[in-house]
Amino acid sequence: MTDAAGWRERVEDTALLWALVAVVAVLSVLPLARLLLEGVAPNGQFSTAALARVLASPTTWTATQHSLVTALGGTVVAVVIGSVVAVIVALTDVRARNAFVFCFVLPLMLAPQVVALAWLQLFGPSSTVLKMLGIAPAMGSRNPLYSAEGIMALLGIQYAPLVFLTLRAGLRTLPQELVEAALAAGASPFRILRTIVLPLMTPPLVAGIALCFVSCLGNFGIPAFLGIPGNYLVLPTLIYQRLAGLGPSVLSEVAVLSVLIGVIAVAGIFVQDLMLRRRDFRITTTSHAMQPFSLHRWRAPVEIALWTLTVVVLVLPLIALVLTSLVPVIGVPLTGKTATLANYGFVLFDHAATKRAFVNSFGMSAAAAVAIVLIAVPLAYFLVWRRLRLLRILNLAAEMPYALPGVVLAIAAILVFLKPLPLLGISLYGTIWIILFCYIARFLVLGLRPVISGYYQLDRTLEEAAQVAGARLLHRLRTIILPLIAPAAMAGALLVFLTAFNELTVSALLWSSGTETLGVVVFSFQQGGDSTYASALAVLTVAVTIALMLATLLTSGRLAVGVLPWRG
């Protein structure tokens, strides 16, 4: 050992850490900073003209109002459904819990545009289902979902699982003896729920509400399918229309709109923080999770109610979607004679853009999943085992692109990549690389969280043993840590893949001919009036999603509770 002993190790350590810092900075800090800059200094020159123009436009404020109304309405629906279901599933002795959780969480994993499309097929004058039942409204009457109420209802159904998941995670940590003490004091289960459980569950409930609000606010698929036909525009769809209609020349204006929606989202998170700061919710005792309350003779009725809910919010719309995908033309009643697989044949074999979209969506989702695992495994290593202050900031930065609405990141990415890259001299705008960049930036945190929880489950001495055996950091990561963290990394990769695979918000703003995604193609079919093709393609994506989710249930035995949301 010379005096330079340890030099290579230190260099390797430091280089890896700073490489990760650089990657996260490029993925999150750079685009968001660029977006903010554009708001006050379009094209690099300080000017408030774009800002003033946008803020003076009545369209801006109408869309803002619509955004707030639908996001708040959707949140209310989601909170009511999600919290009731969470309390029942987490605290009572209903049976077939795992199957129910899988079905209930499924809408969250499906693409919003697919959910919207499915519901549109359930109502309206050309609904195949209603026609089969002979109760379709007269031709020419309006589909009731083309309205603010329709948007709210679907947002609520899509994001109820978010409230459910955060609340159930909280209920899982509720100490048994707090409830038992109340029982011993003679309180009835309902009274305990009202006076003990729900007050203690304020933090997860508020967190769920905030998450739900931000998700509703940033949702593009549902207001695009339900709002655009009736010219009911929210901020994301307004941004889309401006950019799609006028191209990058309106970039400064849409940048201001993106900042506006970002500000509303941050305000929502801020209110959450404010609400939780007023009181102390820390739970002082720790113990086993509580025993479920017995529902006695109410068990069967409650179970029937839960499964009815599943049928209404999941099964019926999906049936409607499947039925529509089987009719030759919208409006033709579905019978044994008219049923056809021609729509599937068309989207799978004939339509060039769809074939490209399959390749693009599969390829980019897989690439994003792999890239995110490669970033997340070393990043989480430093986050969990090296606790530096710098890293906490890094963690926060990694969360930002996901916490903010997708349009914000998409516009920011256009701003960063519209001009040719320095040194290389090529522009990424209009290529698949800008979409892939956004996927990695936006979904990084989805892959990171399971990996972080995986590290917490791992005994660090396993790494230290390799260290004293002489293995350097990269060697340890490859031979010891990666194999041990692999199940968690797989779960993270899968979450990334499924989310990117069903994604529309980002690609709707960034696609160009040749870089279509499946979401974009479904959207284009529907906008062009080809609901049958759109439905066929949507059914295929739903099938892929459900198949992958089911596959993980067979292999997820070693994962921590709560890593895969759809596991009961």
């Binding site: 002993a5 340890g6 190790e9 396993l462 004293v468 350097r472």
Partner: protein, 359 residues
């Protein structure tokens, strides 16, 4: 093999002094036990020696190389040491042979030498035939031996053992203690053995370093530690010693002195530097005390309780002249006592704890 010098090592966690100027010199080939209650800093010390943390003051030298100081920190992967972890830390995704071979692979040892050395290490711990098993398929004792083989296969200059027997059941512990001792004799490796179990430390170690609250209290052979504790903490911690007030009347040149223990004259052992002192402290052992007839030189005590321990009683008493001074001893069966009965205790031996034990 190498000697290990721990020189005034200090480690802070925020404002908490986890290690406070600890100095220990471990000789080449010695087995040094580091003994102390949980939270005393012994695991922190091990992590400094291994290099997992950077220290705040002092230095650590392995062989002739400074591996840790405020100016220099050689990372663990370059220290050529072996560690047996409390949890064993066997890699669950590798077989026994792969676990053992890992350090050799990292060091660039090629086949067939690698396979030969792995086989030799497994033979040494008597695990031939287990090479292709996974750690999950082994018993606690077998895992322990794999961990040992893994740490020794690279012939480290120094082996650290972090409470390696803590996770084993009582019978297996005794067997493994034996095995460690033979093992150390056979390999002659310098070892630092962290434990909170004094019986284990006494049975295994050449010398024991006693720690408490981040400070080193005493480094001595097991016998010296028991017979001549350096201060009251060590006296109380090792072998349940009783610390009592005595007056040192006169000191003889042969390492003994005459003391007065509540009017009972006792010859005790003392340090060569011991001087006559009116207010000294002494360490008594249960085996130094016995119940005697009245009118023999003794001290008067009262029985608090007698606990039957199979063949004999543990008698807990207090000195009548100073009721908060508790003495315990063993008394053979049959022993008849009534609570609060007065008895006479004779002290056969004791150790006068040196004043100003620390500088």
């Amino acid at each position: 093999m190498a000697r290990l010098t721990i020189d005034h090592v200090t480690k802070m966690f925020g404002a908490f002094r986890a290690l406070d100027a600890v100095s220990i010199e471990v000789q080449n080939g010695e087995l040094m036990a580091v003994l102390g209650p949980s939270g005393c800093g012994k695991t922190t010390l091990l992590r400094q020696i291994a290099g997992f943390d950077k220290l705040d003051a002092g230095r650590i030298v392995i062989g002739d190389t400074v591996v840790s100081s405020t100016a220099r920190h050689i990372p663990p992967e370059r220290r050529r040491i072996g560690i047996v972890f409390q949890s064993y830390a066997l890699w669950p995704h590798m077989t026994v042979a792969e676990n053992v071979a890992y350090g050799l692979t990292v060091a660039g040892v090629k086949e067939p030498e690698r396979a030969l050395r792995v086989a030799a290490a497994l033979t040494l711990v008597e695990l031939d035939g287990f090479a292709d098993r996974r750690p999950a398929a082994l018993s606690g004792g077998q895992r322990q031996r794999v961990a040992l083989a893994r740490c020794l296969v690279t012939e480290p200059s120094l082996v650290l053992l972090d409470e390696p027997l803590a996770n084993l059941d009582v019978q297996l512990r005794a067997a493994m203690e034996d095995e460690f001792k033979r093992f150390h004799a056979r390999t002659g490796t310098t070892m630092v053995y962290i434990t909170h179990d004094q019986a284990e430390a006494m049975a295994l170690a050449d010398r024991i370093a006693v720690m408490d609250h981040g400070r080193l209290l005493q480094v001595a052979t097991p016998s010296q530690l028991y017979r001549e504790p350096v201060d009251e903490t060590v006296a109380g911690f090792i072998g349940e010693g009783m610390v009592v007030p005595v007056e040192v009347r006169s000191v003889d040149g042969d390492g003994t002195c005459w003391t007065d223990f509540f009017g009972h004259g006792v010859r005790m052992r003392c340090a060569a530097s011991q001087r006559a002192a009116p207010m000294a402290r002494a360490c008594l052992r249960a085996s130094d005390l016995r119940v005697v007839e009245p009118n023999t030189p003794s001290v008067r005590a009262r029985v608090d309780r007698a606990i039957y321990q199979g063949g004999f009683f543990r008698l807990e008493t207090h000195v009548e002249a100073q009721p908060d001074l508790l003495l315990h001893l063993t008394a053979r069966e049959p022993f008849l006592f009534t609570p609060n009965a007065a008895i006479q205790l004779q002290v056969a031996d004791g150790w006068v704890i040196p004043a100003l034990a620390k500088d």
